[in-house]
Amino acid sequence: MADPGYLAFYIATGLLLGTFYGLATVGLSFTFGILKILNSGHGSFIMIGAYVSYWSFVILGLPPLVSALLAFLIGFMLGLGLYYGIVSRILGGPELISLVLMFAMGILLQEFAKFVWTPTIRGFTWDLGRVSLFGYAYPTTRIVGGVVSAVIALGLYIFLYRTKVGRAIRSVVESAEGATLCGVNVNRIYAISLAIALGLTIASGGLATLYVSGGIEPYMGDPYTTRAFAIAVLGGLTSPFGAFIAGLLFGVIENLSYVLLSLTNVANPFSMTRFIAFAMILVVLLVRPQGIMRR
């Protein structure tokens, strides 16, 4: 138990899981930061991503990392459609409307999934073997998934800070009115942002299958909604990178609380893990209500 490799293993797997949590939250922060819309149906988009990954694997034989690209495109188109079809009409209205809208979207997607794919719990295994480090074996797929998630997050960073459209998105976050005065078509930036956000969220759902190989069903998204909300708050709510870093932190906290609980024998570690993770977030927020990233 005092074996440092044992602790390192749980921290490392926590970080790997965290890259997924991070990526799954980036979209939520993006939508909130730019459109000021809280995507209360967030988890359902993740669920759709998991199905995209599943069917691509089962029917087309595509590994999840490849189908994640497909998932991104689906999310992107869905985002554009949702923006021009509905969201653009309710922007500027009471916040409750967008909250209810996204909640309804979430339920709609769940029922859609249940209708076309039945409530059967599905799963598949994508196996690339294991990598051994200090006597502990890590599944290769998760390492690859972690690297891919980190690369996507880095790509988003470069997009936002180095490109023309990225600058426009940042300017809209800071002041939509100021952006208009600088000639930015704020409406189009909103559309692109929602498209990117849903693209990333659905793509992250594809990567979820690396962690929950056997749990693909229409209601699998709900725990991700609560986690993503907690992580987004931890990351400062409007900052996509804050969200990614907070996701890493959350993955580690969740894993370490599991270790901690297994040591004590007072509770079933599985059932208590999330409780501890959320309790720790409460503590963090008591100390830093602005989240971990904001200065």
């Binding site: 940042r170 300017s171 002041s175 005065l181 600088c182």
Partner: protein
Amino acid sequence: MSEELLKLQEISKSFGGIRALKNVSLTISIGERLAIIGPNGAGKTTLFNVINGVYKPDTGRVFFANVDVTDLPAFKRTRMGMARAFQIPRPFPTMSVLDNVMVSALFAGKFKSVGEARERADEVLELVGLANKKHELAVNLTSPEKKLLELARALAPKPKLLLLDEIVAGIPPAEVDRIMLLVRNVSEKENIAVVALVEHVMRVLKYVERVIFLHEGRVLMDDKPEKVLSSETVKNIYLGRIYD
């Protein structure tokens, strides 16, 4: 010099029962510098909002560079060469000064690549005297510096018309002269028409060629500065208040 740049044709605008603008018509020529004055509530800000597209007039048309822009949204008018600097600056607070200006150069101006926009932004920041602050976050600037940033952002796309919304309010007189001198120089050099909206006309008088006096939503006078200021009507309604 007398070629027409902006034309307002019988503009009216109401908010609820309040008629903020009543049949306002005016023409502004290329490269011309003028001030719009009038007491608080005269409709000055509404007029600006109608010109740059924040509000659509209830009746009347707006022409800019010979195009009817009445139905165009604000960002499209910005791209056509209308720039506006606000009384209360609206910078992007946690972006650098350079990025603030670059967004404007990229989207409102003809600077298509990030590199070109950066060059233009550097040029404009040099011009307004903020070059040494370009890597600071906008939120850390002093209040007069924020006005200069607002001006730099407005100038970056090389506009044809510069709308200055109380740009000199709330800053020390020495700064006012510096900013207005700067505006006049750029206006002369790049042939930019300038419309300064001011409550205290004396502060900008020597930099304009024409003054429009707005009162209760109507143009009461539109003439050379000395004529407007010596008019009995204007003295009674407007100047009297200031010098009482």
